[in-house]
Amino acid sequence: MATTTKEISIGDLGARSSEATHHSATELQGETMALNVGPSHPTTHGVLRLKMELDGDVVKRCEPVLGYLHRGDEKIAENMTYNQFVPYTDRLDYLAPLANNVAYAMAVEKLAALEVPERCQAIRVLCSELARISSHLLGVGVYGMDAGAWTVFMYTFTEREKLYTLFEELTGARFTTSYTRIGGVARDIPDGWLGRVLEFCKGVLPVLDQVDKLLTRNRIFMDRTVGVGVISKEDAISYGLTGPNLRACGVDLDLRKDKPYLGYDKFDFEVPVGTNGDCYDRYLMRAEEVRQSVAIIRQCIDKFPEGSYYAEDAKKIFAPQKSKVLTSMEELIQNFMIVTEGPQVPAGEVYFEAENPKGALGFFIVSKGGGVPYRLKIRGPSFCNLSILDKLIPGHFLTDITVILGSLDFVMGECDR
């Protein structure tokens, strides 16, 4: 059989990238050099791309390029029922899917003016805090790795693995949990699970101490992070930074304390606030937040409420139990309506933010009534946290970029959405 070979020319790669790096290529002929990092690079923790202009080792200009992970989540949300969108929220901040599930469900429930029972709230608090621990363990571990401290990652990842086993027990999935439903959660907690969470809490604290010993007074780590990537308080507010990145700059804002939801006001915990706003402070914030999360989890389990894990009176919102669906006509119809038409939510506009591990994850929902949102906007904290890069990075050494990116602890899933 005759075969032909077709030559494909895609031009000179070098020329293309340098052209892409700067619009006026002639300007780069002099002393400066164009450097393109990412979108696929271990430093960028995902698919962030940085177009930089270097003068020797110093970055003169930095332009972040986003969108490599854009999936059109907001468009997708407009075309499905509220419950069907829950799995998509897993994929926003995919390092803390449980916390995203909770934030999304809370936003829709706020629109429906629905109160979930105390037990459901407690389960959600556990979800959010375990997700925070999981995310921060990864954040601190990878940050250490970025700064050249490999060992930390091994310790934190081992702990995170244990958490994933707990998640699997609770939700049936390790990674994409899709655990909440509008008006409740998918299922009650398994027998003995709370005990295993407490066991995990007992085990994670010594590991944190170990991390503390490895990093906090580590000369090399401090040399690389103290005074690097300093963000002023004013800049942090102006750029809309949230979460540990904002608090590291000395702004005391934690939505769990300041706009309490899920009964966070009942728990006794501290919000760590930094002073210098540098990379080192951002590390300290995360390490301390894990300890505070452990404290919240212990208090929560200590007084774990009995009762229902879903809003039983929300007939048009939460699908009835399977056993009832199979035996009773009314429940069968109710189940059918909710599955086909979605949870019935009144018309209105609502904005809800939850304090997620990376910052404030917000959902703005416009509803015209019925089971499908008319418009759903996702405010990804990583998107806002990264918007400061073009101001923050210039003036730093190229080697500092790795540390700065690691300290900001972003995830592109919720940045690009």
Binding site: G67, G240, E349, Y374, C384
Partner: protein, 217 residues
Amino acid sequence: MAQSELAQFQERFDYLTERPSSDHLAVNCPPEKLVEFTTALRDDFGYDMLIDVTAVDWDAQSPRFTGIYHLLSTTKHEYLRIAVACPDDIHPSLPSLTSVFAAANWHERETYDLMGIHYAGHPNLRRILMWDAYPYHPLRKDFPLAGIEVPLPAADVAEATQAKVIAAPMMGGPFVSSGDGTMDQTEPRARDESWTEERERPNDRAEKSESSTDLAR
């Protein structure tokens, strides 16, 4: 709390009207007053953080586009929503808030990218999530869910490979549709431009025709 604050605002800014909201205070503001109002909010009322900028496409209504801004006070811990109707339905435009809040830069680029609202006075109004040469604004209601076929972002690759960005297959997806018949008939917004239950996938067609020419040879 919200009512007294609204009264305070209206006393100083008589152009504000209250907007129905399911949560915190929301106001309507005319576009030409937006910069003045937000500057005052930041300096005199403590709303110092711009949390979110977005827009809503009301489809057949006029005004078609409404810009939405969420502000948060880091001291009072209160949210405020500002809605601004775009006067022009065909070429919607709003004043840029980049001079007031640095955060507006990326948010406005995103809204421009996905919704096609022009922010007058923005220093760098380029697409942020889609690539620079992308011709559409995908979050508008008249843009189909499946997408529209466009050339690849890299022109030289597209030329050499003849490849395109093709619309996504919608069949079997969990998207809302109503009535009987196939999804591309009942749900115009989910119209599948590439393949349906009745029409096979272009790749399958191409493979088939290729194998038939092989046989002919």
